[in-house]
């Protein structure tokens, strides 16, 4: 799943895959701005068939937290 998420971030943000790791956070990538954040959330929701709440959206500030939130949502 980690790979799928990194792929998705790379595609939505238009950033090379090599630049993104589990440790990457919003501050590391200038492309990851608040507008791109909304596109990321929409893409995640469709790709993983989940629906994120406001809290989850605002706390998804790194790849790591994205993985956690998505795993949690898909397990429920």
């Amino acid at each position: 799943m980690t790979e799928k998420i990194i792929d998705l971030f790379s595609s939505v943000l238009d950033v090379k895959k090599e630049k993104i790791t589990v440790e990457t956070s919003m501050d590391d990538l200038p492309e990851w701005d608040s507008l791109a954040h909304i596109s990321l959330v929409s893409a995640i929701e469709e790709e993983f068939k989940v629906s994120m709440s406001m809290d989850e959206i605002t706390s998804m500030l790194s790849i790591k937290s994205a993985i956690e939130i998505i795993s949690e949502l898909s397990n429920n």
Partner: protein, 751 residues
Amino acid sequence: MKDILPQDTNLTVKTKQKISSFTILLTIEDLIEKGLFSEAEKNLMALLADEVVSDPEIKSKMRTAVFYLAKTLINEKKYEKAVRFLESLCADFKHNAEYFSLLGKSFNGAGDTKNAISILEEGCYRFQDNIELYCALFDAFDFDGKPLHAVNVLRKLTLSTNSPLAYRNALQKIISRKTDNADKNKIKFALLSNFTFDQIEIYLELECRLINIKPEFYKAGYDMYNQEMLDLYSGLYGFQPDIVLLAIHTRQFFSELYYELCEIETRKLWQLARDRFDTLDKSISFYANNSKATILINRFTLPTYSPFSINDLMEKNSQERVVNYLNKRLLSLCRKHGNKIKIVDTERTLSKVGKEFAADETKRTLAKVEIAARAMPFIARDYMRFVKAIKFKNRKCIVLDLDNTLWGGIVGEDGFENIKLGIEPPGNAYVEFQKLLKSYFSKGIILAINSKNNFDDAIEVIRDHPDMILREEHFACVKINWKSKVDNLLEIAEEINLNLDSFIFVDDNPAERKLIRDKLPEVLVPEMPKDPSGYTEVLNKLNDLDTLYLTEEDKKRGKMYMGEIKRKYLKESTQTLEEYLETLKMKAHIFQADKFTLPRITQLINKTNQFNLTTKRYSEGELRCLAEASSSDVYGLKVKDIFGDIGIVGVIINKKEDNCWYLDTFLMSCRVLGRKLEDFFLDYIIGQATKNGVREVWGRYIRTRKNSIVKSFYNDFGFSPAGTENDAKLYSIGVSDYEPKSMKFIEIDKI
């Protein structure tokens, strides 16, 4: 393998077998990891042959293992091996989108594009919403050097899924493809909005690339539209867009409508409405007066709830009345600026897809996203109606099959009396479909028939069946015979003189649709449902049949092409060209462009490719400037003949200096080629030059792929070559040296 099983005798046979299978599966996984593919394959095959596979749990695990092996082989670039392995699987594993996608990819990798295309086409037909299959089919066509087929795959993918994910994948594919010739045809969009709307970009980008246009975007940022439009030095003016998308949401524009409506006094409410719109009006008007862009602004949409709830419609200050007021103001603003501002009917689009479906309360609350990602494909396609019309990418002719398309049943077998057409279902579905087609005919879309039938059987229905809506007079071209539909379509294109990319082909038979898709990929072939009650919806959904404004020529066009066919018959039955032209009794009229004729002149300037000496494109705004300036003239030529009014068919743009006139543009519509109207036109211009004391007239020819027909035009008229300028060949002639062609057969029409 069996010896590693536990030897506990208490276990039932079934459980034992299950454990044994799991163990083998683990071993297989291990073998794949180690790269021992042949070993893994052998074990898998052995397991597949085993009867235990009826257990659903093991079956699902096995499927994972099978596809895992195939995927690994593909990753290792062992494509031939992957093909052999996948093909040897039993039928159980083949009813699966992943199977098609992996086999297709293996064929692709092995360089066998023919088999890749065939297996992936089957897969896409069976699993219509599988993005991966479509993307693999795209790759196969792209490898095979068929860019048009490849693009059509993506068009079908986005249409059949309507999914943002599909759009993103398709966009990646189309950007990464080998042959990208979209660079030549560009369009610049500026996005202005009062809510978060930048996400529309990827949808528009893909839709544009599907029609071979490369878009550029300028995004002004949330709620900056007034400042950007009012400041001549803003990024918006600097960008010089072709199209401005001004997206105004009712909520952000008039938030009081949502909750405070019951509390505001009447006078204050209407004062607010006036003031708010006045501000918007001023910004838009200022921008419209200072730019050449076409502005697409959406209609104000009605909120889904009113503070007056069930009483809203009865109230003096109802939400409905305020929204209506805003929309009326919008309409008069639009009228004031002619064709510069177009209203996009978002209310209709959103009610079609559903306002609840199109809303995402979480993202709206968080980031003012008023339109959810899932509704974006629909919104983008609506904008594309305008874009296609502006860039002349709209389709002009619908070619129709007859049996089971215009009526139910097969006339050659069932007989005239037994075909299904009339008030009884299912005949009423065909009547309705014909009514829709007739409405297209009335606004200028050309209809033609391409049917495999005995001519006499089918034409009898068209002529005499009491419930036919469409008759012979509605079809510009009728091909009823036993020839291939491809040949017929090519003949139709030739006879009505349109490029293949102007056609839509409608046929109930999937095999005929596939044939046209394969052989003539420029033609748009929509997927038709099995049930005729769905036919009208298919055409209504297409965003390829719109024109920016209905000019008088458009409304007449269907009829004009009928005239074209009659003219052809006449051409065959008469002798010399001169005699033929004489029998046409043409009446021509040359005039200077004005606001009534500019829309049609703009159309001609932008879509004429063959008889066009310079193929320069101008927007309506630019043409208006040229027409109004004293240093240039924009001339049009209108013509009538015995078959009817053909309308405006020729344009000359002339740039004037004291002693010299320069013909910047000279074009004739393909409808009137070979009628010597260009001779008449040039005679007139040179006559005007003489009257104005001009000594020389200069012409230029810029070669394109399509205009070789006029490459010796100026030579033929006695002009001398006078050097080159960039791509252009220059020609000049002294006015006194010009010999007018006296055109007896063209009468000057004084209107």
